[in-house]
Amino acid sequence: MPQPTPFGKRLRQARDLRGLSQSELAEKAKLPAVMISHFETGVRANASADSLVKLANALKVSVDFLLGRSSDPSPRGGAAEAVFRKLENASGDTIDAVLAIAQTLAEKDKKKREEAE
């Protein structure tokens, strides 16, 4: 009988964290629901990069978290890198504007979380 792999366990953990059922995650990630079940139970031991990226995006976690290489589920590693790459050739004013927007959005998120609590 197959045993859950570290990846399968992390997938389950991230899905629970986001409060999603297997079918809800499948829908968000545009993957077959049976694939999610097979990953979590270890029937299917490994995923492709394509599936990992889809799952990480749907669960708002990093690929490294799903692979068990990071204990931080936040996706900011990849997102920060994406922003950094887009800003490589930007002017100082543009970078300042992006930082101001990021700060405003982060404060908005914080307020939302506090209201929800």
Partner: protein
């Protein structure tokens, strides 16, 4: 599941990707496929020797890096498709990207490599660029041989060796394609017409091409190989492979340029079936007229 089945799964995955992206015509553009997946393709001039491409991961972002020195557009396209294989196939990213660093692969089918992950990525690339639904009708319309290889390479924008392997996989005719370096075979692919011939199951890598054929003659002149010259000859299939029937084989050889390899296409229009060979050997053994070694060949002595 046996690892031998995995290249078949890799081909199925490439087919699913073609469906997913609603690709309805060829040549398939692997850079556009990469773009649709959010993977950028970059060309670099400095690359480790003998390597053509790499799949690179930085965090959650993936990109494909291709060597600027790829000898032809076909090689470049195959390299990108090969790296897309590493991206789309289960377990590849974990095996190749041990950390948030770089995976480097040869990205070509030139070396007769044995690593299962590379074989799978090659199968994915072959199917993505020459998917069966597009390639089979083209191959059916051509007479198997070197001219057909050139036509497939031209229509699907792939290397001659990639086109030759696809020809051998999808043709109904008895065709063998092989790549040799310094007259030593690197890989051999048989068309399905040879499926019941047990002698084809032997490992042939490292065997020598026959000394009196066109491949040998071409390989004896490195200048001709580099210049991409062709040569042809007629000989017996049994001169090529031990255990093969003594049926006529038409040999066409093509020099593949500075890499020094020769691509050979053997067509055997009168190939007897495995059953016919067995009956003939039985009759010869019973009549006692044949050479005793011929009679023993049917019993697989080694």
């Amino acid at each position: 599941m046996s690892r031998a089945a995995y290249p078949l799964l890799a081909r199925k995955r490439a087919n699913r990707l073609i469906d997913e992206l609603a690709i309805t015509s060829f040549p398939v553009d692997p850079e556009a496929v990469a773009g649709a997946k959010g993977i950028s393709v970059e060309t670099h001039t400095k690359f480790p020797q003998g390597r053509y491409g790499a799949l690179v991961r930085q965090g959650d972002l993936f990109r494909i890096v291709v060597w600027a020195g790829c000898p032809t557009l076909g090689h470049r396209r195959f390299t990108i498709a090969h790296e897309l294989g590493h991206y789309h196939l289960d377990g590849h990213v974990e095996a190749l990207l041990a950390s948030s660093s770089t995976a480097v692969s040869n990205g070509s089918n030139y070396t007769g490599r044995k690593d299962p992950l590379e074989v799978e990525a090659d199968a994915f690339a072959s199917e993505l660029l020459m998917t069966e639904r597009f390639a089979r009708p083209v191959i059916k319309s051509l007479t198997a041989g070197l001219t057909a290889v050139r036509e497939i390479a031209n229509q699907f924008v792939v290397s001659f060796s990639a086109a030759a392997i696809r020809l051998a996989m999808l043709t109904d005719e008895p065709v063998i394609v092989l790549l040799s370096m310094n007259r030593s075979m690197e890989w051999v692919t048989f068309s399905p017409a040879f499926r019941e011939h047990d002698w084809t199951r032997r490992r042939m890598r490292g065997e020598w091409v026959p000394p009196d054929g066109a491949t040998h003659a071409l390989a004896s002149s490195p200048k001709r190989v580099v210049a991409g010259e062709e040569a042809s000859d007629r000989n017996l299939l049994s001169e090529w492979f031990e255990g093969a029937p003594a049926t006529e084989a038409f040999e066409e050889a093509l020099g593949l340029g500075p890499y020094g390899r020769v691509l050979t296409v053997l067509t055997c229009p009168a190939l007897p079936s495995a059953e016919e060979i067995a009956v003939e050997e039985q009759e010869r053994a019973e009549s006692g007229t044949g050479d005793w070694r011929d009679a023993l060949r049917g019993y697989s002595l080694g």
